[in-house]
Symmetry: C2
Subunit: 339 residues, 2 copies
DNA sequence: TTAACAAATGACAACGTTGTCAAAGACGCG
DNA sequence: CGCGTCTTTGACAACGTTGTCATTTGTTAA
């Protein structure tokens, strides 16, 4: 590896002068600068970040810890968003995956500390409260897609209540009155909040919501979910007074509802309108008819998490907002307007 | 941050003794060790990796550069596999995303060098030749899901030819004779190799392959693909002598074939068997009937990439194998046996 | 011409760690 | 007791960088 010393020797100047040039210090003669630049190029000098960091600087590396996000198709966009924001300043992400194992997490907090990363984003696969205890890491931590139970960390979460409202509002405006729900498991916040939003939309529209049509598309406990949307949908659609539309807890649930419709020879959207959640493009864009759904703003959450992290470094303690990021409805072809 | 010096002062020993204890050097008295351990714990000492690295050691950080892998639902498993292999030794991944932009890549090679990462995995979203030129990085580089045109780097690629063979063989064994193909774009290796494998299976079974049934499920150029599988499938299934099974270029194509079948009131698998490729679980496991498909061994590729990287560090130059990783068939419910 | 000042450059220490080597103490043997 | 050997410990340098401060060189005003 080429060092400042080697460049300095070749150029016949002191180490410090080369250092100045590398760092764009204006206090250096133009002639000197040019002549040294040549050697920097020819030796292909790249500053040693480890040395810089040890000298006391800020690391250009940030951490991303997650229970599964980085490695799950669903929410990679958080990573993408964070990377996009970091790239502008030549910074990068060290990614760690705990799979939700607390022992692993402790390990990774140590690792982040050992690497002296400048800040950490803790991202969850799904929107929930997360108590991270007192991680062995004292720099800024931002929560993405989850929030601190103790409200002592800034966090970014999707506006699930608003998303639920959008789903129901969209269908109600198009004349649907009997609308079925196939929800995620009830233990998670997303389910509760969207349910609230949906009911608020019904209320605003002056339509009564039939609670019998509120069914689970998934069952089981957190991290041990089982998909049952197909069976639930078939059952719901075999009722004499079947719903004209079904709101799904996510796009995978919607996929099963498409399958259920096909099974019963019902056509989408003529016989049944389907609304998803997540906007997982590999599903929503490839289904035919393509899926109208509400997007989880993961990219935006990742991007803003980085901003928040940078800000909270300069901030005094005790200020930890919980920021709602809106979930835009993406209109495609799976919902029809009733006559 | 707690340093060796601080621990040493508290414990009343020299820095070096503490260093020895931290690194498990046996040449230290048991009593001393115990008394110092207490202070290490209470001060929560974590060694500064930057300092260690500067002292000349090996970095515990590896790099993963990709055109899009890390941030695309399709191949995150490469990341998961790599992380699993690294975790055992307390190592981690720095992840960079070039989006295929060469300028970005140059930038990232510099960054990896600046961070002194111990090795880099270059992963591609799809199986292809990749000419990386002469990156400004001299440590070991392993290619995942792509291979060096110049064959001067070790690489790991899926056995697409074998995967194609499995697809066709499975259906032929179950009595299918007219089998349609909806392929990926012809420009990529995967398409060509799987085509070869499929035809080899037909030949081995002594069945003639109808070339008219070889259609594209996607069109367009690399990085600008457009999905046309739905239309192609509808057309193919409206023929009087329609195929009894369709082999798809990936699971998203298969998803569109399900949609096409539903559109034509054909039932899967009674009226039509469908075979996917990739085993993208969010699709393959959630479809009803669930999708029989051939898995891309991305996790395994990621895992072995790390091993290969470690090995190639100790290896002499000029040794750069191209390793084929098998693609196992995952049997589910979408293919029936003909009477 | 000289003093005062600004610009350009360099010497040196420090960051936290570990390898090298030497010193100090403990122990056994003749 | 004196010697060699082994165990345990510590002093010191070095890794590559940058902040601090001093030195050298150049420039301006009196």
């Amino acid at each position: 590896m080429v060092t400042l010393r080697q460049v300095a020797e070749r150029a016949g100047v002191s180490i410090k002068t080369v250092s100045r040039i590398v760092n764009g210090d204006p206090a250096v003669n133009a002639k000197t600068r040019d002549s040294v630049q040549v050697h920097l190029q020819s030796l292909n000098y790249v500053p040693n970040q480890a040395a810089r960091l040890m000298r006391g600087g800020q690391s250009s590396v940030y951490g991303l810890m997650t229970d599964a996000v980085a490695t799950t198709p669903y929410s990679v966009d958080i990573v993408r968003g964070a990377q996009a924001a970091l790239k502008e300043q030549g910074q990068t992400l060290l990614i760690a995956n705990s799979n939700g194992d607390p022992a692993q997490e402790t390990e990774f907090w140590r690792m982040f500390r050992a690497q002296r990363v400048s800040g950490v984003i803790y991202a969850s696969v799904f929107h929930r409260a997360h108590d991270m205890g007192h991680p062995a890491y004292n720099d800024s931590i931002v929560l993405a897609n989850c929030y601190a139970s103790a409200a002592d960390r800034p966090s970014l979460i999707p506006d699930d209540e608003g998303g639920g409202y959008s789903q129901a509002e969209y269908l109600l405006k198009r004349g649907h009155r009997r609308i079925g729900l196939l929800t995620l498991i009830p233990q998670i916040d997303a389910t509760r909040l969207r349910g609230l939003g949906i009911r608020r939309a019904f209320k605003d529209a002056g339509v009564a919501f039939d609670e019998n049509l509120d069914q689970q598309g998934m069952v089981g406990l957190v991290h041990g979910e089982k998909m049952v949307a197909f069976d639930a949908a078939v059952k719901m659609l075999q009722q004499k007074n079947r719903p004209t539309a079904i709101i799904c807890g996510n796009d995978a649930v919607a996929l099963q509802v498409y399958s259920a419709a096909a099974h019963l020879d019902l056509h989408v959207p003529q016989d049944l309108s389907i609304m998803g959640f997540d906007d997982l493009k590999v599903i929503s864009e490839n289904l035919r008819p393509s899926l109208t759904t509400v997007a989880l703003p993961y990219f935006e959450i990742g991007r803003r998490a980085v901003e928040l992290m940078r800000e909270s470094k300069n901030q005094d303690e005790g200020w930890s907002p919980k920021i709602l990021v809106p979930c835009p409805l993406v209109e495609r072809e799976s919902c029809r307007t009733l006559n």
